[in-house]
């Protein structure tokens, strides 16, 4: 994984910040029982088209507090990018 923090300025999309946030969530927010997690279908819909998913569907800020959901989102984004290499 490219370590943006070491040698690059954060870009217009604050990529380094969100990468750091993701690291923090993965490290400090385990949720093995999947308490409060939105469904896999909801996460998939969110990655494909965020506009079609509400805050309520996502259980508000849950994905910012759950390592398991974050891992699911990483995998879903990877699949999306493999289908559409031009997307970020």
């Amino acid at each position: 994984m490219v370590n943006f923090q070491d040698f690059l300025e954060d870009d217009d999309n604050d990529t380094a910040l969100f990468e750091r946030l993701q690291e923090q969530v993965l490290k400090n927010c385990p949720n093995p029982e999947r308490v409060g997690c939105p469904s896999h279908a909801t996460l998939e819909a969110f990655v494909e088209s965020p506009a079609g998913v509400t805050l309520e569907d996502l259980n508000e800020l849950h994905i910012l507090k759950c390592a398991e959901c974050t891992r699911d989102l990483i995998e879903l984004r990877r699949k999306r990018e493999s289908r559409n290499p031009d997307t970020i």
Binding site: D6, K27, L64, I88
Partner: protein, 140 residues
């Protein structure tokens, strides 16, 4: 003054011969020390606010390693964030949508969205020990 008199009395209790001038000097010394002490106590700065407001004034956090290891309380950091900004942050984080894409969905410009979310982004940076150039902040 009463405290200074009592301290002077204690000080002179063991001394057999003390002139008036000497006693006056000792009393004056104890009095001046008492005044200085009183001023020091009353001149302390008091912060009327929250810890988050204080952290936002600090240029860099003390240790980035400590920041990464500490649990980030997003509910507190984003406690008064409007719903559309929450959505924008989630879309950026979870779906990795670019700010211009998220702004378009919210019928806003990218710049206005980033300006509106500046406070939240700065709070997150502060909590995560990341400064604006993306690098980790370390101890000075």
């Amino acid at each position: 003054m009463e405290s200074a008199i009592a301290q002077t009395h204690e000080y002179l209790a063991d001394r057999l011969q003390v002139t008036v001038d000497e006693a006056r000097k000792i009393l004056n010394l104890h009095y001046r020390n008492g005044v200085r002490r009183h001023k020091r106590v009353n001149s302390r700065l008091v912060l009327r606010g929250t810890g988050i407001e204080l952290e936002s004034l600090a240029p860099f956090p003390i240790s980035s390693a400590d920041r990464v290891d500490a649990h980030l309380d997003v509910d507190t950091v984003l406690r008064d964030t409007l719903a559309d900004l929450r959505y924008a942050l989630l879309a950026r984080y979870g779906a990795r949508r670019r700010w211009d894409e998220v702004a378009a969905e919210l019928s806003r410009s990218k710049d206005s969205l980033r300006m509106a979310s500046k406070r939240e982004l700065d709070r997150l940076r502060s909590k995560l020990g990341t400064n604006k150039n993306g690098s980790k902040s370390g101890p000075r």
